[in-house]
Amino acid sequence: MAPRPALLPAPPLASSRYNRQLLLPQVRVRGQEHLLNSKVLIIGLGGLGSPASLYLAGAGVGTLGLMDGDSVELGNLHRQIVHTEAAARKGLLKVRSAAARCKELNSEIRYVLHEERASADNILGIIAQYDLVLDCTDNPATRYLISDACVVLGKALVSGAAQRGEGMLVVLDSPPFPRPAAAGEGGHDKGPCYRCVFPRPPPPEMVRGCSEIGILGPVVGVIGTLMAGEAIKIIVAGCHVAVSSTPTSSNDSHMSSPTSSQPDQKPSQKQPHHTMLLYNTYAADPRGMFRTVTMRGRKKDCLACGDDDALARKGLSRITADVISQGRLDYQAFCGVFEDVKVLGEERRIGAKEFLETQTNPEHNLLGEEFESLREKGIVIDVREEHEYELGAKVAGSLNIPLSRILRLGGSAFDELGLLRRDGDKGQISAESHTQTTDAGDEADGFDRGPEQSGPANEELNVTLQPNGVTHQERTQTRQSRPPPVYFVCPRGNDSQIAAQKFLERLEADGAASQPWGWIGDVKGGYVALEKHSQPQDPASGL
């Protein structure tokens, strides 16, 4: 027998590509082994999934599952940085594009591609193949679905979200099982699920996608990066797998608070704090850009993760695997569908095509009569928000009065129209006068003006919507013609109805005896419909 060597070699992993991360005392060789043995699923390869997939691939997660049914688009690359222009040009599926890029970063791990959207049919079968899930999706219905599936299957869930300049991050179902009291350590309950934190979804009108309201790349990128960080912490500490198999070291809690040691081994009173991180890049006070807030714990009567006796007491039945897979829970209906507003009667609505004709073919206007230019085209009030109006197609000569302003000021938001009407009589309204309707009392509309100036900024100017300063005589001097119609227009024909209704209420309040307006109503289907009908066509064909 050869003599035992005096110098034992370092474990191979120590000198591996993962050396720099396993140097951390919290990781070490053992933590890296956990990572290499772990299976992580990322659902959604957008702004959150982009950095998350790259970092988890780099960290050496053994199996990285990527799930998404969408294709890469150029307009998303400002934040979806795992993808490439080439992938966008080819219209590649996001999972393929992301996997290719991750492989360039780390070819030593296994990638599993799920080229489909998360649904009740596929979610359980797919999540079951993994230890931990990252929810990088973009809508509430899918978030509830993923959370329920994770609870049913006992998987920890790292959940992130971002829109505009804000993001949030929360670790759910963690630990996925109650941890029994061990020697020198109190046990603790399993963590809350998405339903515990958000028992009911927000109303559908508050749910607008990033493509509508915008998102800053670095903001969603920070949240996606933090999600990867949380996933790594959970896995390294062995908290992603059911108890017993991994006696964990002292740094087993990925949550901030350490469990207290109680000699009597009764379950500890002190549960780990469940926290949520809020990030607001435009925080009014920059010291509040990142906030970690303390969240409620698990709800004993939660439909997904609650206790049997608490649910039974309330006569509630639990969401089980069968309930999900048999489609007995309609997640879309639970989260609601944004229904079209029905405020105006049909007689106050004009189709997009007919409206365009009033704007382009004076002789075929709504009323079939000949007016001078303004009369025919009427007044077009665009109720999109200021920045939306700026960025969108617009009706020539339209006036922008944002809905938020109308809802804030009520009828007085229309004061400007009194002036416009008068100017119109003088023929001064040009095709390009997209007047921003800011009155003296309402400066810096749309910007944070700080607490000092938040007082009542908008006073009733008490202007009636009569032609201001125009005498009766002047009015009769203008050619005998019908008063101009007022058309309200918005993205989809919902806000425009609300705005038109407010306008009508204002007129009624003013006393409509001699009101100077003709037909008042909105354009059905808004810009979506207008753009469909405004394709260049043979001018005769529409008649």
């Binding site: 959604g44 957008g46 702004g47 959150l48 999934g49 929810d135 990088c136 999706t137 973009d138 809508n139 509430p140 978030r143 992130g160 979200a161 971002a162 829109q163 505009r164 804000e166 993001g167 949030m168 934190v197 958000f198 028992p199 009911r200 979804p201 927000p202 109303p203 009108e205 508050m206 749910v207 996608g209 990033c210 309201i213 998102i215 969603v220 949520m276 809020l278 607001n280 925080a283 009014a284 006070d285 906030r291 970690t292 807030v293 303390t294 969240m295 409620r296 938020s404 809802l407 804030r408 000021l409 009520g410 749309g446 944070d448 003006r449 700080g450 607490p451 938040s454 900024a457 908008n458």
Partner: protein, 107 residues
């Protein structure tokens, strides 16, 4: 003892749109307001006050629904879920920070 409580109220997650895009508000509430009985006003009172006084936007249902803060809004009292602090009944104290944040769902 002062007759008023001064607190900071913040809105985020898109809720600020209902408040003229102002995210941070300093509010001074009287302890003798109609329904506070000379006691410190509660968060429940604050919610009503915000709805009636602070909010100019008419879409009240995007903040309060059926008399309660609408689903999807987290209420944080000094950075702690209001459920841990007594919800509506929490009595406001000077310099308290109340944050209303609407859930984000984009990704």
């Amino acid at each position: 003892m002062s007759d008023t409580v001064t607190i900071t109220v913040e809105f985020s997650g898109g809720l600020e749109m209902l408040f003229d895009h102002v995210t941070k508000h300093e509010l001074t509430l009287s302890k003798h307001a109609a329904d506070t009985d000379g006691k410190a006003p509660t968060v429940g009172y604050l919610v009503k006050y915000i709805c009636d006084q602070l909010m100019k936007d008419s879409r009240k249902e995007l903040f309060v629904l059926d008399g309660a803060v609408r689903p999807g809004i987290l209420v944080l009292i000094n950075d702690s879920d209001w459920e841990l602090e007594g919800e509506h009944e929490y009595e406001l104290q000077n310099r308290d920070n109340i944050l209303f944040v609407s859930t984000l769902h984009g990704g």
